[in-house]
């Protein structure tokens, strides 16, 4: 039997506000436990919520970015359940009247094809605190610093058919929210988390199979792993004649296993109802328009502009537009070097490899865009070769200093004095008469070229890589054709 995978995503994005969604506590990550939890965050009796304007504006920005309708009147509801990281015993969320209505996100797949993923809606809600499971005499510790951090939850339709599509969608959302600046998108701090709904059905079948929800995946890779695992699990079940049970699952990224969440004492019944402490949120059309006017360039438009004005390939443009920091970095380097291709190659090659290896965000790169541009200019003006540039890049990364200083200090400046190069070439030819003979005797064009390059290599070696390779070629050509 051929199986088709059906995937829907619920993406929780922490909004980059200064204060919480309903209180004036700081949202900053990493503070001492419970030092950023005010009376309201602790659900002290009598405290009341007041909605953060910026959270609303960020939600509107997201809605506009995914071509969705903004609800002129949206309603906060209480989602009731008991959990120690949920101090009020309910989460303030939205259900019937979310702030952002249906929309669409266009994704690009690795094979270059495009697909539109429909968004069911996006709603504002508050984040919960954290339970720390280190052992406190057999108890858990509760830190409510995160409680009340604004989240926007983006709920897709079950439009994805593979893990590749799911990852492309997740990455696209990441690109959109970081581009808008409404979230730092820092997955290591939980700024973006995914719940994945997965079901399978025989290929060609129209009705959806029973789905499971794997919750709280906090990286693209874990999401991909969890999907693979869940699809396999469901296929195994069904092929064994068993049924998939609708349930919530947890993925353990260390063990590469998933398990059903301990079934609560009873089936969930969240008893949503409109929060009487908050009134309907009215959003005027002219407010939406003014936000639309000030919206930054979105990833799709940016990608197109990179293709049009920098002459990049679609794939390169897409990769550079993955997140705003990378795109901004590229634009600085491209402008300062006036060589977009060279800039793109270095950013997607050398720089991104190094950043990945050391798990550093481009926004924290030890080499700034202007520094990289300066380095590339030295390649362009023949001060150094591309090969030497990689050596300089390494030193810049380590020391954080200026490329010119490094070139100067380490004496890496390219040798362009043709007299000196000629002397070097003569020496190499004198020392390697057999190479010269072999070259001259060779008849096959391809092999002849290879032998020529070997001699060039010797010269470069002799110059410690500093000789201008073009000049070496030229001089050698003259000498050997004599």
């Amino acid at each position: 039997m051929q199986w088709e995978t059906v995937i829907g995503l619920e993406v929780h994005v922490q909004l980059a506000t200064q204060s919480k969604i309903f209180s004036a506590s700081s949202t900053q990550f990493g503070a001492e436990p419970n030092t950023q939890a005010c009376a309201l965050d602790l659900a002290m009796p009598g405290t009341l919520p007041v909605l953060n304007q910026q959270a609303v504006n960020y939600a509107i920005m997201l809605g506009l970015a995914i071509n969705a309708d903004i609800n002129p009147l949206s309603v906060f509801e209480r989602k009731n359940y008991f959990y120690p990281d949920l101090p009020k015993g309910y989460q303030t969320s939205q259900l019937e009247e979310p702030i952002v209505g249906p929309g669409v996100v266009n994704i690009q797949l690795p094979d270059g094809s495009h697909k539109a993923i429909r968004i069911h809606h996006a709603h504002l809600e508050e984040d919960a605190g954290k339970s720390l499971h280190e052992d406190f005499h057999g108890m858990s510790g509760i830190d409510l610093n995160r409680a009340g951090t604004p989240l926007i939850e983006i709920v897709s339709e079950p439009d994805m058919r593979s893990k590749e599509e799911a990852v492309a969608f997740a990455k696209k959302l990441h690109a959109i929210v970081t581009c808008l600046g409404i979230s730092d998108g820092d997955m290591s701090q939980g700024s973006m988390r995914f719940d994945v709904n997965v079901s399978i059905r025989p290929k060609g079948e129209q009705t959806l199979g029973t789905r499971t929800e794997t919750k709280n995946l906090n990286s693209f890779r874990f999401m991909e792993e969890a999907i693979v695992l869940e699809v396999e699990r469901q296929i195994d079940l069904v092929e064994d004649g068993l049924k998939v049970k609708q349930e919530t699952r947890l993925y353990d990224s260390d063990k590469k296993q998933s398990r059903s969440m301990r079934s609560k004492e009873e089936a969930n019944d969240y008893r949503y109802f409109p929060c009487p402490d908050l009134l309907p949120v009215a959003i005027a059309q002219d407010h939406i328009e003014s936000i639309r006017q000030s919206l930054p360039e979105l990833p799709d438009a940016k990608q197109q502009r990179f293709i049009d004005s920098y002459g990049l390939s679609e794939a390169d443009a897409a990769q550079l537009c993955d997140d705003r920091a990378t795109a901004d970095y590229f634009e600085i380097v491209a402008k300062e070097t006036d060589d977009a291709r060279l800039a793109a190659n270095w950013i997607m090659g050398e720089l991104s490899a190094k950043l990945n290896r050391e798990s550093i965000a481009i926004s924290h790169s030890p080499i700034t865009a202007s520094q990289l541009a300066k380095l590339l200019l030295r390649i362009k003006d023949n001060t150094i070769s591309g090969k030497i540039a990689k050596q300089v890049f390494e030193s810049m990364w380590q020391e954080g200093s200026d490329p010119d200083d490094i070139i100067e200090k380490q004496g890496l400046k390219q040798l362009s004095d043709s007299g000196a190069i000629e002397t070097m070439v003569d020496e190499v030819l004198a020392q390697n008469p057999d190479m010269v003979d072999e070259y001259l005797a060779e008849q096959v064009e391809k092999k002849k070229k290879k032998k020529f390059n070997a001699i060039v290599g010797r010269v470069m070696q002799a110059s410690k890589g500093k000789a201008n390779p073009g000049q070496v070629n030229q001089i050698l050509q003259q000498k050997l054709s004599r």
Binding site: G46, L48, G89, R271, F273, P276
Partner: protein
Amino acid sequence: MHTKTIAELVRGLHNRDFSSEELTRHFLRRIEQLDERYNSFISLTAEQALAQARQADQRLADSNETSLLCGIPLAQKDIFCTQGVRTSCGSKMLDNFIPPYNATVIQRLNDAGCVSLGKTNMDEFAMGSSNETSYYGPVRNPWDRECVPGGSSGGSAAAVSACLAPGATGTDTGGSIRQPASHCGVTGLKPTYGRVSRYGMIAFASSLDQGGPMTRTAEDAALLMNVMAGFDEKDSTSIDHAVPDFTTNLNNDLKGLRIGLPVEYFGDGLDVGIQNAIEQAIKTFESLGATVCDVHLPHTNLAIPAYYVIAPAEASANLSRYDGVRYGYRCEDPQDLFDLYTRTRAEGFGDEVKRRILVGTYALSAGYYDAYYRQAQRIRRLIKNDFVAAFEQVDVIMGPTTPTPAFKLGEKSTDPVAMYLGDIYTIAVNLAGVPGLSIPAGLVDSKPVGLQIIGNYFDESRMLNIAHRFQQVTDWHKQTAPGIDS
């Protein structure tokens, strides 16, 4: 001194007839001597009160002091959070709860220089109409100590009635200011929803709760409203609506005032003695130049059913925070998380609170939401529309506050539905959000009768004017319970 109105005490303080400290000591002494009869206070804050009184005296020594209420002692319902002072809400759950913040109402009264004598007894989490659900025992009605004072602000009503405080704060979700005011023979105002900040006022049913004053006279209520009312940015449901000086119009002429009598408020179940007293009061208004006509509030009989869905539903969520984790009661030696929650809440809440949480949980649960909660919210709109239509014909609506005078302790405590039905005339006012006032208007079997004046949105000033004029030509409000010597 203790039978004086706040207005009289204000004059006495400003004339230096007595100091705030003397006044405060006088009331503290009375409470210490007499309150064991009534049980109207949960906590007495003598030291803090005297410190506040001395501060007020210093302020009063400065001739530029503009706060009229500076130096006036008051009693605070134990539902208002008071920084550093135990705030129990009448519950074992919060028996050890000392808030690190003040309710906005408390802060405003403090800033005005008022002195807080202590925290008054109340039905647990304001759920009750008799004060019998308090963890701290029932309050007794000063007019007949075998009878209930009403609830939930029964402690505040009894304290004012027994002259243990010249005024008190109360809260009203379904009649909790007006019904005890009626039963104890005092004046009690539930303002328009959103008029008085709910910040720091422990929530029962957020869309219905409203704080207000309980005093001996309408004039005193106006003085307290001048401090208590006003927009608060900490409360999203607080209304940014101009706050008048509520004393300005007190003496306005009532000539031409149009009074509506809802036919639904004078039907079966209304005590004949109360009906007579109310009719007498209406005649008084006619003699003051008002005209009277019948009005219809056709959905009145649906108010109690709708209320007993909406209030418990909101309460069921509002009270979820009492889980034994961050403050308040926690059960001994919880075995696991579920045990912590279920035992903490079983042991910390009383029967009526648990009953309402269960009703509210049921009304919101899957499969019942539309039939209960949504239906109740729609009926709520119909009830509001009744009032809107009535106020197109008349300026105010009048009727009884309660169908019967104060009942005996224990009489209804085992029959919740019988208890609920007693709130028939007060509940619709909360559902609609309009203001309601109860003033003493007679005695039946030596127990006070309350006249309810219902006004249009934000029309408290006119209601107080109407009540004040009535109190100038009658002396029901001056009658004190037997045994209250002057």
